[in-house]
Subunit: 214 residues, 2 copies
């Protein structure tokens, strides 16, 4: 019974995700669904990515949070079009939530739309929202056991951004194990090691985004 | 439609949670449902708590993970009765999952049962499993914005353990804000600042557990 309901919801979600995808394609917007645990650095990555793109690529952002507008305020202060979705308790964004805010963004003017999902290493991986690709962030403070414990997120993501590497010498964490286990789950996953705080490694990620869009 | 189904599931869950609670009461076991984001330190807290209790209180553990047995192996190596539940994708433990493993634990011999939930700062807070109280862990590496962004978890928890304080000087994190915001959501929440790595603050937490049970 529970499974049946979930599958109906997922079917409906997939239909609306496809509608969103068609709209994004028509408007020429490349869409990245950004996922992670709470506090892994999704908004910080967006801030540093936007700064590093230097206005050369037109970026828009949809912020997903259970409640509050803190993250949208951070993006807004950079002069970037942003819409905040409050899920009101739901632990992930779904395609319908995205569909409902599409008119609030200047899609005709955008090259890239980042969708920052609710902080959660499980549920967001199950729901398509119409994106071109999913990208996940893992903070090294979360430990090296995460790929094997939360495999779906790693399997669904086209890229893994390993963040907070500036803290590496203060932690007992095996970053090579993270990379090895992520690759064992998803061989072609693209991996970036970065620090949003110091800027280390951000140039490689930003170059990759530029390549995808050009 | 979605809401209706969810409420039915929650009703059924509450009934089974009450059954579990009755069993725990009859057996004289105090049950703590431990919740956090992935990698905040639930298993590390259990390891250091068990070591600090020094066998004076009989502890059992139920480990909840989507997949894998790493956490149960860590507890097992301490000579503590432990059962691993693999949710097979589900983002939280529910009362029925707990009910199904009760016969695998020596409940008659236990004083405390810790239930380590799936790493997720959202969904586990919605599901009772028959516990006496919920306790949450927040790693300071997750940032000080978490109480206001994930309010239900803070509202449902009787205690907040702020972990990894050994990293404080390397982070831009305002621990006082975490405490203030948590208290604004849940005035009587009991707050402990600890480092499972250095052992700092663990004695206060362990003493509190001893007081609750005696």
């Amino acid at each position: 019974m529970k499974l049946k309901v979930a599958s109906k919801i997922l079917d409906a979600n997939d239909r609306i995700a496809q509608e969103n995808k068609n709209i994004f394609k028509e408007k020429g917007v490349y869409v990245i669904n950004l996922m992670s645990s709470p506090g892994a650095g999704k908004t910080s990555l967006l801030e540093t990515t936007i700064r590093n793109l230097g206005g050369k690529i037109k970026v828009g952002v949809i912020e997903g949070d259970i409640t509050g507008t803190d993250d949208a305020a951070r993006i807004d202060s950079l002069g970037i079009p942003v819409v905040q979705i409050n899920t009101g308790g739901a632990c992930h964004l779904d395609a319908n939530m995205i569909n409902e805010v599409l008119n609030d963004l200047p899609l005709d003017e955008l090259d890239v739309l980042f969708i920052e999902n609710v902080g959660n290493l499980v549920c967001p991986a199950e729901f398509k929202v119409g994106e071109n690709m999913k990208v996940m962030i893992l903070s090294i403070t979360e430990g090296h056991d995460k790929p094997l414990k939360y495999p779906l997120m790693f399997q669904e993501s086209s890229a893994l951004i390993i963040n907070k590497i500036d803290l590496k010498s203060f932690l007992d964490v095996d970053v090579e194990k993270i990379k090895k286990d992520a690759a064992s789950l998803n061989q072609p996953i693209k991996i970036f090691e970065v620090s949003c705080k110091t800027g280390e490694g951000i140039d490689n990620w930003v170059k990759w985004i530029q390549t995808l869009i050009s």
